[in-house]
């Protein structure tokens, strides 16, 4: 029901990961992502991805459900992999030769590695977004990580406006169609219609933002010390999830080093 869920596809806000503290999830995701960002080999990516899928499955989000909600990301990863396979100069026996397209075993492996790495890097961040209520995340950022409350809460309020804007986009499109706009075909017409829609939405959003700022100010936001109504809770779940993420990161690097496949991004 809340912002991110309505903008991105929804994965239920119940279950193990939803109960995990937002900061633990965020840090866990950071650890895994950091390891993947500095390592460029398929073993690290593969182990990390596998570990994440296991953790998600244990938390009640099976691979099939992931695939149906996050298919655009899978498609994006496959496309980037395909691009690499086509363009990569890696050698090896030729598998496919179609005009200028030449795919060798080497280039296919490189493509696969890119796709795998893309997926493994994208998954942690998305998981955090999909299983965390934005308010809880803000609480964690401000109270546990001590980020400036003013900044965090302003971002949170802005996020709510995004939701309002998404709804408004549909109404706007119908309102403009009623005036006879937007019926023309062709990319140029589509582009001008999009620009018109976006402009109107922008005008509305600026007004909204001003009024929201007024509301927040009238409720005493912005100056002086503040208290927090909600307490970020830490429990056994958080220890489990925290350890699991560290384990995934460590296992990925260790296995990769043991097999001799590990390669830093700068190597």
């Amino acid at each position: 029901m809340s912002t991110v869920a309505s903008v991105l596809p929804t994965v239920a806000r119940t279950g193990l990961l939803a109960r995990t503290n937002a900061v633990v999830k965020l840090l866990g995701a950071l650890v895994i992502t950091a390891v993947l960002v500095v390592s460029a080999d398929p073993v690290t990516s593969g182990v990390a991805l596998g570990g994440q899928l296991l953790l998600l499955a244990a938390a009640g989000i099976g691979p099939w459900r992931l695939l149906t909600t996050l298919w655009p990301i899978v498609v994006a990863a496959l496309i980037s992999g395909w691009g690499t396979a086509v363009l990569s100069p890696e050698g090896g026996p030729v598998l496919l030769h179609l005009g200028w397209i030449t795919i060798t075993t080497g280039s296919l492996a490189a493509g696969g590695a890119i796709a795998l790495r893309g997926l493994a890097i994208a998954l942690p961040g998305i998981t955090v977004l999909l299983t965390t209520d934005p308010t809880d995340l803000a609480d964690g950022l401000a109270q546990t990580l001590k980020l400036p409350a003013r900044f965090v809460l302003a971002a949170l309020a802005a996020l709510r406006l995004v939701e309002v804007m998404v709804t408004e986009w549909g109404v706007l499109a119908a309102a403009r169609r009623a005036r006879g706009a937007g019926g023309a075909r062709g990319p140029w017409a589509a582009l001008t219609e999009f620009a018109g829609l976006a402009f109107t939405l922008l005008v509305q959003s600026l007004r909204r933002a001003t009024r929201l700022a007024m509301t927040m100010e009238a409720r005493g936001f912005g100056a002086g010390p503040r208290t927090w109504a909600r307490v970020p809770r830490f429990g056994r779940v958080d220890v489990v999830v925290g350890c699991a993420t560290v384990l995934i990161a460590v296992a990925a690097v260790t296995l990769s080093l043991l097999t001799g496949a590990h390669r830093f991004i700068w190597q």
């Binding site: 029901m1 809340s2 912002t3 309505s6 209520d133 934005p134 308010t135 949170l156 309020a157 709510r160 406006l161 939701e163 309002v164 109404v171 706007l172 119908a174 309102a175 403009r176 169609r177 009623a178 005036r179 006879g180 706009a181 937007g182 019926g183 023309a184 018109g196 109107t200 005008v203 509305q204 909204r208 001003t210 009024r211 929201l212 007024m214 509301t215 927040m216 100010e217 009238a218 409720r219 005493g220 936001f221 912005g222 100056a223 002086g224 010390p225 503040r226 208290t227 927090w228 109504a229 909600r230 307490v231």
Partner: protein
């Protein structure tokens, strides 16, 4: 309800000494020489013409005004003896937009937000949150998502958030302007109870006087010059200032601006159809769906007046898709007799949920092909997966007649309007234009392209700004006719020159009728609320549609704009246009002499 001993609260005393406000770039100040003392616990209704600076005054008192360099304000202002900017938590402030009144995504968190900012200790926050919610009658779980609330509930939530802070001065800027009647009354009651119990000082800006009259004990009326024109005990002042208030467009209790009765209403005289003379609220004819269907497929709602027995008898809507070649059809310029059915809906079920974009395009393509061949496109009986917002609707929209769609919030009124306009596909049943309206286009309005649509059905949405497309008022009015002209030009290039002249004349005439001549080159977004409303109606009138559909046209409008709007609609009715209004406004239904279609009863 109180979970902790309440500190004895007293209202704040408000003092204005020669207070004034002059927006930079405006010729005249909006507020001038205000010398006012509002005693603790006093309940004040602040009235005045739109744009008189009432909101500015409230914002200044709340310490949230937009005066960064301090050049706009003059004179002195204090709340409980201090500058409002330094009186955090002393003043509670609410404005009229429910969407931006809510800060957080869960009900409890939103009410707690103000308390957190006032650094109230955590253990005291939640009891106060629950107490505030109870006082405003919002008995919903604390983790209820705020997006799922109605406009009226959002306003009450905002009130709860404000009351939880225990302000000593409560400032309300048109709190019920975007809320339906029932929601407005609930909010008003909650405010009345709260200020009475706490002794809070109250200042309300609102042009629906009847709502607040029982709550307030003092009325202050600002004149057009931004000075205090009347100030005194509520009832006495409302009486003394009545003439000025009516002139300013304030909804004075027991008064509705006088408007002309449309011809169709004054002629209607068929008692067997349950119709009576228009003009009084109670007797507005009520039409129950479904209507009786006669053997030839036409469904008169009430009797067609005698004038309808002329040239164009209403065609059978259902057959129109298949009927003959375009040459047989009525030409667009042919006059239509009042009472002729233009649009008819049969056993309609409507929903906001629509097929995907590609499915819509496919349906449109196939149905158009079928139409060109003179065949009927086989529609599925029921579109699966869509829960109807309203169903079993059978209704005719007739030339020169007004139809009012009424009903509670969420009854599917706006959805029905959009479906009639061809902007949404029905879940079940059909909407068909008769030959008189469709002429050379398909009978199914959802198949019309932009140009076909604007010259047949004009739809005015609730928020005028949603429909503004061009940078100036003049271009905005010329947009619809130009669409129509462009289309005609594809067939006959010579015809367009003559049309262009006629269209220019139409735009000039509209500018005059809308009283927007002086603002012809202004940007539509910079107009006042009432001007925007008039322009939004004008933009669809410019393409001379035969059917006009308006969603809550009078919502939140002052009496002046209301009168101008009704006059405009009556002119259109008398010119033979069919008018459909979605509305809560009983006075509007009466003034248009509209048939009433009540949904969800």
């Amino acid at each position: 309800m109180t979970a902790e001993p309440t500190a004895q609260l007293t209202g704040a005393r408000v003092v204005l000494e020669g207070f004034g406000w002059h927006h930079p770039g405006r010729e005249t100040p909006s507020l001038m020489d205000l010398d006012l003392i509002i005693e603790p616990g006093e309940r004040v209704l602040l009235l005045g013409p739109s744009g008189a600076g009432k909101s500015t005054l409230l914002q200044a008192l709340a310490g949230v005004d937009q005066d960064p360099d301090g050049r706009s304000a003059s004179g002195g202002l204090s709340v409980a003896g201090v500058d409002p900017r330094d009186a955090r938590g002393t003043v509670g402030f609410m404005h009229q937009d429910p969407e931006t009144q809510v800060v957080l995504s869960r009900v409890g968190d939103d009410v707690a937000f103000g308390l957190e900012n006032l650094a109230v200790p955590r253990e005291r926050i939640w009891p106060r949150v629950r107490e505030a919610l109870a006082r405003t009658g919002l008995e919903i779980p604390l983790d209820h998502p705020t997006t799922a609330l109605s406009g009226g509930q959002k306003q009450r939530l905002a009130l709860a958030g404000t009351l939880a802070m225990r302000p000593r001065l409560l400032l309300l800027d048109e709190p019920t302007a975007s809320v339906d009647h029932e929601g407005a009354q609930q909010l008003c009651r909650a405010v009345a109870d709260a200020v009475r119990e706490d002794g809070t000082t109250l200042m309300v800006v609102e042009h629906r006087v009847a709502l607040w009259e029982p709550v307030v004990d003092r009325v202050i009326v600002l004149g057009d010059d931004g000075r205090v024109a009347f100030d005194g005990p509520a009832q006495q002042t409302l009486q003394d200032a009545r003439e000025l208030l009516q002139h300013q467009g304030t909804w004075v209790p027991g008064w509705v601006p006088r408007t002309r009765t449309p011809v169709h209403a004054s002629r209607r005289m068929s008692p067997e159809a349950g119709e009576t003379a228009p003009g009084s609220h109670a007797t507005a004819p009520l039409v129950e769906a479904p209507a009786l269907e006669t053997s030839d497929g036409t469904t008169p709602l009430g009797a067609i007046p005698e004038t309808a027995t002329t040239a164009h008898a209403p065609g059978n809507a259902g057959d129109a898709v298949a009927s003959g070649n375009p040459a047989d059809r009525v030409t667009p310029s042919a006059p239509i007799a009042p009472g002729t059915t233009l649009l008819s809906a049969r056993d309609l079920a409507v929903s906001r949920s629509q097929p995907g974009r590609r499915a819509l395009a496919r349906r449109r393509r196939r149905a158009l092909t079928a139409w060109r061949r003179g065949e009927t496109y086989p529609e599925p009986d029921v579109r699966p997966g869509a829960a109807p917002a309203a169903e079993n609707i059978t209704v005719d929209v007739r030339a020169g007649h007004a139809l009012a769609v009424t009903g509670v919030n969420g009854a599917g009124k706006s959805t029905l309007a959009l479906t009639l306009a061809g902007l949404l596909l029905p879940v079940r049943g059909t909407v068909r234009a008769t030959d008189a309206l469709a002429t050379d286009a398909p009978a199914d309005p959802s198949l019309w392209d932009g140009a076909e649509l604007v010259s047949r059905v004009g739809t005015v949405f609730q928020h005028p700004e949603h429909q503004f497309l061009r940078p100036t008022v003049r271009e905005e009015l010329a947009f619809g006719p130009r669409q129509r002209r462009r289309r005609a030009g594809r067939r006959d290039a010579r015809a367009t020159d003559a049309m262009a002249d006629a269209d220019d004349a139409r735009v000039a005439e509209l500018l005059r009728r809308l009283r927007l001549e002086e603002l012809a080159e202004a940007n539509p977004f910079t107009l006042s609320g009432g001007q925007k409303r008039r322009l939004s109606v004008g933009t669809v009138l410019a393409a001379s549609p035969r059917v006009l559909i308006l969603d809550e046209p009078t919502f939140g409008q002052d009496a002046r704009t209301w009168k101008e709007l009704v006059d405009l609609l009556v002119e259109e009715l008398d010119g033979g246009t069919a008018v459909v209004v979605v509305t809560h406004d009983r006075d509007l239904v009466a003034a248009l002499g509209a048939h009433e279609l009540r949904l969800g009863s």
